[in-house]
Subunit: 389 residues, 2 copies
């Protein structure tokens, strides 16, 4: 086990009707909030009204900024920064999914900084302070509600770079609180639900697939999260309004990415980085992109740490270990994972999303290249794209 | 799953040599620390010197208060409160095990309070503020280093009440940071190691044994912690200096009691409350008391939620489920647990500790009486004492 520094202070307010606690949670940090959201869906189901009511009752004034789109960009972040300065905002309250929360995090580090917030992602400066962020989650997937990560897209010479908003002092952007009401997720369409499930599992697996040994506790905790998401994922695809199953997935989504499961180990994160190139360029949901890339990455790298893929097969997918052929066991695990993705309605090939091969080399070149199971090269990434075709 | 509010902000600084980061961690909260510890053991292995060096380098002044004994009392807490006021202490740095950290927590809520700190445990007042507490852990067991709980003993009419230091606003006493270096635990004697293992498992099981349904994520996370502690517990009893096994147990000990595993469910905590009466009166380690009480409690209550005890047997102890007799399966799980406790050298009967039956009724009467599997009565507790005899 490796040394680590784990500091997750996000308060989780979880359960039915908890959006009514927004006012109380926000008012611990001040009296003016920037209410940040996406399209109109939060107004459709009455969530917006309930949040505004709670904020009003707690004496919190709001400034609003809607319009965040999937794969958030810096245009809206700049607008949010301007609003925060003009109105002396004390906290940014993100109401939505990962894109909204990531956008809020960008605003949070940008607001108190005199220079261009892009300096942080371009590694020209290190963030030293940030406004506090709170979240009311509507889509369990990105885990951004209690994670210290945020991703936004900026263009250089026409290429969309989907990159981390900060590379140091990550803890500055970890939300102070997250309100998680599973009821809000019962109306999510099946495809979005499935994309969320895939993203949550990917966050666990990026950490699970490590070359660091003697990490039994986090291995077993990771397997616990994966099994729970698989079991309850199957339930919600059949019974979208099953509160308990939605609750399991929602809480699992936060635990999956708050870094508890990364303690003491080196994560891999190759699949996530490769996928960011795809959803940066093509109009594809991040979760769907992961469903295509992750199995291909597995097929490309499993021989680099066969034991780990055998463990994944046996412990997560209940594969009967073939002691004569561990490789067969490992492959059966990957197969079961891919079948599950199909079962919940996700694509597992680039061709299903009409993504052509013509930019494979370009994306492979531009992509970040981490890796614990196997340090990626551009050549590896092209191979993975081919396996995913 | 039930609604919950989970807020664990303790920063975990984990791994080899991490006590050298004490100065940096403390100085985030001020420049004067009360260094709180037990007997001389922290001086024996050089830990004291390394901590003082780190504090000095960070410009932190220290006031010292040693002498905490197992089952801490209020006398030393009063002394600590006095020192904090005299020296305008900014943070209390507990160096030791659960007793030292619990004592530090008592000092922390007492220092800023004008009245008697006992008011909080006697429910005459509610704590509103506290000094920050930091911990350098030397004995993985109590989980106090990242928990919001503390227990201390006060006497009334000659009876030692071992009770919670606060009953509300628990978050005030949760440590701001905890430094966990597994190397420091490699020299722990076998009996103390075993008591710690038993206490850690008990913290998980008190939450695991709930009557709340649809808590799959926390069930599986709990099973993950238990299996890890069992596996690595066996290793450290044979190889006391196995760093990785010590590390698994140390990190598991924090996760076991920071309340992650209690999210969405009602805990039981009957065994802990019953045990507090025993170690309050008799000279017995808390972990050894739990090894005696917990199996007896199980035998007394398992029929109240047979399914849960079957799950415990199958998932934690790998018992082959006897579908013809679930009761047999449940009993085999309890038996395996008790055998494990004996295997690591713990007593499982009161008689082994020469604890007589003459105060059973008195202890049963005085004990707190929680319970999720079965709400305890004095009669239940006497039965449990008899089963443990």
């Amino acid at each position: 086990m490796e040394n680590f520094d784990f500091w997750c202070g996000t308060r989780i307010i979880f359960g039915r009707g908890t959006e009514k606690q927004a006012g109380e949670a926000v008012s611990m940090y001040g009296k003016t909030a920037l209410l940040h959201y996406g399209g109109g869906s939060i107004k459709k189901w009455g969530l917006y009204d309930r949040v505004i009511k709670s904020l009003n009752e707690a004496g919190v004034k709001t400034v609003e900024l809607g319009g965040v789109r999937p794969n958030p960009t810096y245009e809206l972040i700049y607008e949010g920064i301007k609003l925060c300065r003009e109105h002396s905002v004390d906290l940014i309250l993100a109401v939505g999914g990962g894109s909204v929360i990531d956008s809020a995090k960008g605003i949070a580090v940008g607001a108190p900084y005199e220079g261009d917030v892009l300096d942080f992602t371009l590694k020209k400066a290190v963030a030293k302070e940030a406004l506090p962020v709170g979240a009311i989650l509507t889509l369990p997937a990105a885990g951004s509600e209690s994670s210290q990560y945020a991703v936004a897209t900026h263009e250089v010479d026409g290429y969309p770079y989907k990159r981390d908003v900060v590379w140091e002092n990550f803890h500055l952007i970890r939300p102070k609180f997250a309100i998680l009401n599973p009821e809000l997720t019962c109306t999510l369409p099946p495809f979005q639900t499935a994309c969320g499930i895939c993203d949550i599992m990917a966050h666990v697996m990026e950490r699970y697939f490590t070359s660091v040994k003697n990490v039994e506790l986090t291995d077993r905790l990771s397997e616990a999260v994966l099994k729970t998401v698989i079991n309850n994922g199957r339930v919600v695809m059949k019974e979208p309004e099953n509160y308990d199953a939605r609750a399991e997935i929602m809480w699992a989504g936060s635990v999956a990415h708050n870094d508890l499961l990364g303690t003491g180990r080196q994560p891999d994160f190759a699949s996530h980085m490769i996928e960011h190139e795809i959803s940066g360029i093509y109009d594809i949901a991040h979760g769907a992109g992961l469903a295509i890339i992750f199995p291909a990455w597995m097929k490309h790298v499993y021989k680099n740490n066969l034991d780990r893929f055998v463990q994944f097969a046996v412990r997560v997918w209940n594969v009967d270990h073939n002691f004569y052929s561990p490789e067969q066991t490992a492959l059966e695990g990957i197969e079961k994972y891919e079948k599950f993705l199909k079962e919940i309605g996700l694509p597992t090939r680039l061709s299903e999303e009409n993504i052509p091969a013509d930019r494979f080399e370009e994306m492979a070149e531009k992509a970040m290249k981490p890796g614990s199971i196997k340090k990626m090269t551009a050549k590896d990434i092209v191979e993975i794209f081919k396996l995913a075709s």
